[in-house]
């Protein structure tokens, strides 16, 4: 699956959040594309990038409850009416659209009665409307609240949660999570030092076994439920 990450930040190089996310990118199948200093926008090239992607990620810090100006400029220039829906061809139909939004306020602020008195879903409703118009599948938001205050365990978790948001099959079920980890285990084992590799292989074998066990139990339960329904 090809993922396109469109990064809208006025100074990506100075943003610790954006640099952290950039360093967390999965090894392959992801294109990181910065919108901040595009200069004159090559509309055809930008549209070609969109056409090639299976999943499109909009990534930006929240500025006054919206994406920064560079995103709006890109959006107004690249997402022409004809391209999105005007000729009834819908080139973006069936692709997925995700949003990675970083905020300076904590999660608790983004709710009715909270400091911001607004949910992120409500704030970003215009993007969801564009997705709907383009027949894109809207993925649940991926907010990064107050990156600067995150502890090391939280940052470790953010690395993989972000990678999964970019590349894992949705919805984010246990079965899809398991498949994502199983697919990456061989490459991760190859990165281990020689004396750790055997342990890595044992871990992978045990993990696979647990996946199979769960599948077996799920099937058994489905059969029992079916029999119960028939009574």
């Amino acid at each position: 699956m090809a993922t396109l990450v469109l990064v809208a930040h006025p100074q990506v190089a100075d943003s610790t959040t954006q640099q952290f996310l950039h360093a967390s990118l999965p090894a392959s199948q992801v294109t990181w594309h910065e919108l901040g200093d595009l200069g004159p926008i090559d509309v055809a090239a930008e549209q070609a990038l969109l056409r090639q992607a299976d999943r499109i990620i909009l990534q930006f810090p929240l500025y006054w409850y919206a994406a920064p100006a560079s995103f709006k400029r890109w959006e107004d220039t690249v997402l022409t009416r004809n391209f999105v829906y005007g000729d009834h061809r819908y080139p973006l139909a069936g692709k997925e659209l995700g949003v990675v939004v970083s905020t300076g306020m904590p999660q608790t602020a983004f709710r009715r009665g909270g400091t911001e008195n607004l949910t992120l879903d409500a704030a970003l409703a215009p993007l969801a409307a564009v997705a709907h118009r383009a027949k894109l599948t809207w993925l649940p938001l991926f907010p990064v609240y107050q990156f600067g205050y995150m502890t090391e365990p939280q940052k470790l978790q953010l690395v993989i949660d972000y990678q999964r948001y970019l590349t894992q099959t949705q919805p984010d079920t246990l079965a899809n999570r398991q498949a994502w980890f199983a697919a990456r285990l061989p490459a991760m084992i190859a990165r281990l030092s020689a004396n750790q590799r055997q342990t890595g292989q044992l871990v992978a074998a045990t993990f696979d076994q647990q996946c199979d066990d769960l599948e077996g139990l799920t099937d058994t339960l489905a059969m029992i439920k079916e029999a119960d329904d028939d009574e």
Partner: protein, 59 residues
């Protein structure tokens, strides 16, 4: 937690602790979280199977 899960948890944590690169460590730590989730799901499924199999109204 069964002894197998306990063993798996320990092995993964040991691997995680030995990774010099942050993103590599993150992978193993996250795998450990999925393994914990697997154990919970296993117990829930097994519990539901037991519950549905041993219903007194079907005796």
């Amino acid at each position: 937690m069964t002894s197998k899960q306990d063993w798996l948890h320990q092995q993964i944590q040991a691997l995680a602790a030995q990774q010099p690169q942050f993103t590599d460590r993150a992978f193993w730590v996250a795998l450990d979280r999925v393994v914990t989730e697997q154990a919970q799901r296993h117990d829930q499924l097994q519990g539901e199977i037991d519950g549905r199999t041993w219903r007194p109204d079907k005796w």
